[in-house]
Subunit: 199 residues, 2 copies
DNA sequence: GTCTATAAACAGATAGAC
DNA sequence: GTCTATCTGTTTATAGAC
């Protein structure tokens, strides 16, 4: 599944053949079909595993308590650490967010992946809502804030060579990952633009 | 090319066959191969056309002048209008940003697409740099700001069904597009989190 | 669980007529 | 420019031996 993960991350569902995955893992194609009845099954299993891990880690860090702003910062830190630790994860996650119809959605493993994604999103939604209620988070559209957070974190670590080119070196280097955390959190706290009347 | 655009947007380079595109446009597969020597040629042409249009429109709006903060707001408005006007565009753009190796990079049409992307990024970089020099933009890592802007705008309009689910209705509806502009610009101006000592 | 062999459909691409 | 017919390789998936 790790081998499949990396290949699917790079070229997507249609771009990878079962024989290629089998070769990468050192088994025959038939053996792969013995473990996963169809290619869609394997893909759903790969996606589901990643989403489940993200859900688990985010749930864990939010359970540690603290104010909404503090937990939001931790949410960013943990998600970034998670996506940075395995380069394939962000790409698979991004694909699952914008490639709707690759899978029919009827497979049980796909339904489990959908549930994990729903939990991740719902938890973040609740966090933002709580922050607004307490006055720690600026009043704004929660769905749009959510989309912005996803875009800032997930896209960045999915951006591969283009991202490396923009940043000037590997986005997965330890220093650069720490910098991403700081930059994203600074964006959340201060925005980009300095309004003249504020100072 | 419009037909190919929509199909590639949805399922990527490998997920679409030349016969499918031919059928969608009402021609035979051979005729398609007469106009585009290879599938990669067609894909590069589709991507290049989108990037060229984006480059053109962004260049045009930045040429209208104004302060850096003002032009940054306009940059966001124009890019959002552009991506919202044709749902396939954001997905193709996102794919060109995170799917590195789909194309070898040796084709002339691919090189032109790369150049357009480079111009788009370089122009945005200059704008941010200028804004920091004038004090209108908060001092921060320009590459990371760029990545954040791309993530906030491009991902949002590429997010399809998941995005619709998060927002609660079509992200391409006129009202929802206007709201996206407001929300992104508010994010740039104020961030998300309200720092207590500021008020 | 793993393999070889094979089926049946489909892919990208070409030849050549009109 | 468009077509039919075809080539060649690859695809997902299955059958059945070990």
């Amino acid at each position: 599944m790790e081998a499949a993960e990396e290949l699917f991350a790079r070229r997507g569902f249609a771009g990878v053949g079962m024989s290629e995955i089998a070769e990468a893992v050192g088994l025959s194609k038939s053996t792969l079909f013995h473990h996963f009845r169809t290619k869609a099954d394997l893909y759903a299993a790969v996606v589901g595993r990643i989403l489940a891990e993200i859900d688990l880690e985010l749930t864990r860090t939010l359970a540690r308590g603290g104010g909404a702003a503090e937990r939001l910062d931790r949410w960013v830190d943990v998600l970034i650490d998670l996506l940075a630790s395995t380069p394939a994860h962000a790409r698979v996650l991004l694909r699952s967010l914008f490639e709707d119809d690759e899978l029919s959605g009827e497979l049980p493993e796909q339904q489990e992946a959908d549930k994990a994604l729903y939990r991740i999103l719902d938890q973040a939604r609740s966090l933002l809502k709580e922050g607004m209620a307490s006055g720690e988070v600026r009043a704004a559209s929660i769905p749009h804030l959510l989309q912005s957070l996803i875009g800032m974190v997930v896209y960045h670590f999915a951006s591969g060579e283009v991202g490396d080119g923009i940043v000037g070196r590997s986005i997965f280097g330890a220093d650069e990952v720490e910098r991403r955390k700081r930059e994203v959190k600074a964006f959340l706290h201060h925005g980009i633009i300095i309004d003249p009347e504020k100072n």
